[in-house]
């Protein structure tokens, strides 16, 4: 079972992503600002991060750059961004080894990308 950190300042989107990932068998940690997310990553045990771009304290891009430099993301990161500014952000994210998903994200695609990054499909959650 993998632990995924979801960094997103919009509470209802954070909850929706959390629910989706948990339902598909993943452990989820949540953060609502960049600094919180970074602290959680530094505390260890996170395999992969799903982050928003615009967050208080630190943008998702700065967070990704710092976390990558510190080697805190063994399985990489997925950056969620709205469609209108996707193009400009995509290059910056790719340069850090991350992947961009547009917002509103496709739940099935997000999951497929996560499972691809984790190497194998995670076991379904016990219900």
């Amino acid at each position: 079972m993998a632990t995924i950190l979801v960094a997103e300042d919009d509470l209802h989107i954070l909850r929706v992503i959390s629910l989706w990932l948990k339902r598909n068998g993943h452990e989820v940690a949540e953060a609502r600002t960049g600094p919180e997310a970074l602290a959680r990553l530094r505390a260890g045990g996170v395999d992969l991060m799903v982050t928003d771009v615009n967050m208080p304290g630190m943008t998702g891009l700065d967070l990704l750059a710092t976390a990558t430099a510190e080697g805190l993301l063994p399985r990489g990161a997925i950056v969620l961004t709205s469609r209108c500014d996707q193009q400009e952000i995509a290059d910056a994210v790719r340069a850090q080894g991350g992947l961009v998903h547009p917002k509103p994200f496709s739940p099935s695609r997000l999951l497929a990308t996560i499972e691809h990054k984790l190497g194998a499909p995670a076991a379904p959650a016990a219900t």
Binding site: D9, D10, L11, H12, R15, V16, S18, L19, W20, K22, E27, V28, A29, E30, A31, R32, T33, P35, E36, A39, R40, P56, R83, P102, P104, F105, S106, P107, S108, R109, A112, P124
Partner: protein
């Protein structure tokens, strides 16, 4: 840092419950905006949790639908083929439903035809051999369903008959791709978990949207076909007027397209070439029949009138906006590569590539057709003359490509050219 924000949702909400407070799921824009909620009873708490989950599911479903619509909308402009649209829809459905397979089967009359023709299979769950009857039954059930309940999850025995897997669930719905025709049936197979009401809504909305796209595509296709048929009718009228050139325009159209393909032209230009070929002689409508059908050679004055036909073709077609791309080739189809042709004595690259193609093909078809003053030449003799003219009257590159086309046609050919290549006409010297 607020420790609360790092704990997983369940533990957190439980901790909050102990404190008698529930964070509002749709709080303000920032992390500071979680208002303190008044204490709630156990029952209210449970209800709120359920409501929250329900809303989250709704959001997930809506996001998924939005993404399919974004995808299809973004790609549909580039997709002009109904089959490609169906494949896109099935691929996306397969991913979003996490299905083992998605099939799109056509509306066949006989059960055994159900998996043939337009059927499309995505994912890695094939339809069982011999499942025709099951698929046909499924399609009938989908068609017979009332409008409000078009998507259905099918009974286990039918599922087994179709996909073999005992534990598989099968969900099916209609894809209405045309007016007045039987809808296609799209079915999804999932083995791991049962389909939910949300999955059914998802399939329904994708099929409704996909149906709109497909119906539009089919309408455009029908309009294109109608205008093409109208042009063919007009061209037939011209060919009928000149008894020596019966079928000439059609053959020039086909041969021009084949030569264009050999020249590696893009699909759009191939279509233009075919239209130019079909229409190049349309100006003959302005030439007196006694000249067109005159037995024996023409006088100089008569020949001068015949030479006006490329410009007349241009004048006839010029008002038709959708044919603007074929005008240049049409007016140039008697221009010679060395500048000795008509009407403008253009030379080399001054003549459009389409014009040069049309000229080679037109000469070939004229040589291989009967004339009032000579019998038709056979293909080999016609090609010999064309090769001799390469570099003078005809563009050598086009001639080389055309020769390849002719060689290929002599081995196998479309039925429309059977007469031309099938029965070599006896020469009369």
């Amino acid at each position: 840092m607020d420790e609360r924000l790092m704990t997983p949702l369940k533990e957190r909400t439980e901790a909050e419950r102990e404190r008698g407070a529930v964070a509002t799921a749709c709080g303000g824009p920032g992390p500071a905006a979680i208002p303190e909620a008044p204490p709630v009873s156990e029952r209210t708490y449970e209800r709120l949790v359920l409501e929250n989950e329900g809303l989250a599911e709704e959001v997930l479903r809506t996001y998924e639908q939005l993404n399919v619509i974004f995808d299809v909308t973004a790609q549909v402009a580039a997709l002009t083929d109904a089959q490609e649209v169906k494949r896109l829809l099935c691929d996306r459905l397969c991913a979003m439903l996490r299905a083992q397979g998605v099939w799109c089967v056509g509306g066949a009359e006989r059960d055994e035809d159900f998996l043939l023709g337009d059927s499309l299979v995505c994912g890695d769950c094939p339809i069982e051999a011999g499942a025709h009857a099951g698929v046909a039954e499924l399609a009938r059930a989908v068609r017979a369903a009332p409008t409000g309940r078009r998507v259905q999850v099918r009974t286990i025995p039918l599922t087994r008959a179709i996909c073999g897997a005992a534990e598989a669930q099968l969900m099916a719905g209609p894809l209405v791709d045309g007016e007045g025709t039987e809808p296609l049936t799209v079915c999804a197979v999932r083995c791991k978990e049962p389909f939910t009401a949300g999955d059914m809504m998802l399939l329904d909305s994708v099929l409704t949207y996909g149906g709109h796209v497909l119906r539009n595509l089919n309408l455009v296709e029908r309009l294109k076909r109608t205008s093409f048929e109208a042009v063919r009718a007009l061209v037939n009228a011209i060919d009928k007027k000149d008894r020596y050139t019966c079928g000439h325009s059609e053959r020039v159209g086909i041969l021009a397209r084949l030569t264009g393909r050999e020249l590696k032209l893009p699909a759009e230009e191939l279509q233009d070439l075919e239209w130019a070929g079909l229409l190049h002689d349309i100006g003959k409508i302005g030439i007196p029949e006694e000249i067109l059908n005159k037995p024996g050679r023409l006088t100089e004055a008569e020949y001068a009138i015949v030479k006006e036909h490329p410009q007349m073709s241009y004048d006839v077609l010029q008002p038709v906006a959708s044919l603007s791309r074929v005008l240049e080739a049409v007016v140039q189809h008697h221009e010679n590569y060395d500048g000795t042709g008509y009407p403008k004595q253009l030379r080399g690259d001054e003549i459009s590539l389409a014009g040069r193609v049309l000229h080679v093909v037109d000469v070939f078809d004229a040589l291989t057709s009967h004339r009032s003053y000579r019998a038709a030449y056979d293909v080999d003799r016609a090609m010999k003359i064309i090769r001799q003219d390469a570099g003078t009257k005809l563009d050598p590159r086009v001639v080389a490509c055309f020769a390849t086309v002719v060689e290929r046609l002599q081995r196998s050919r479309p039925p429309e050219l059977e007469e031309l290549f099938g029965t070599p006409v006896q020469e009369s010297h």
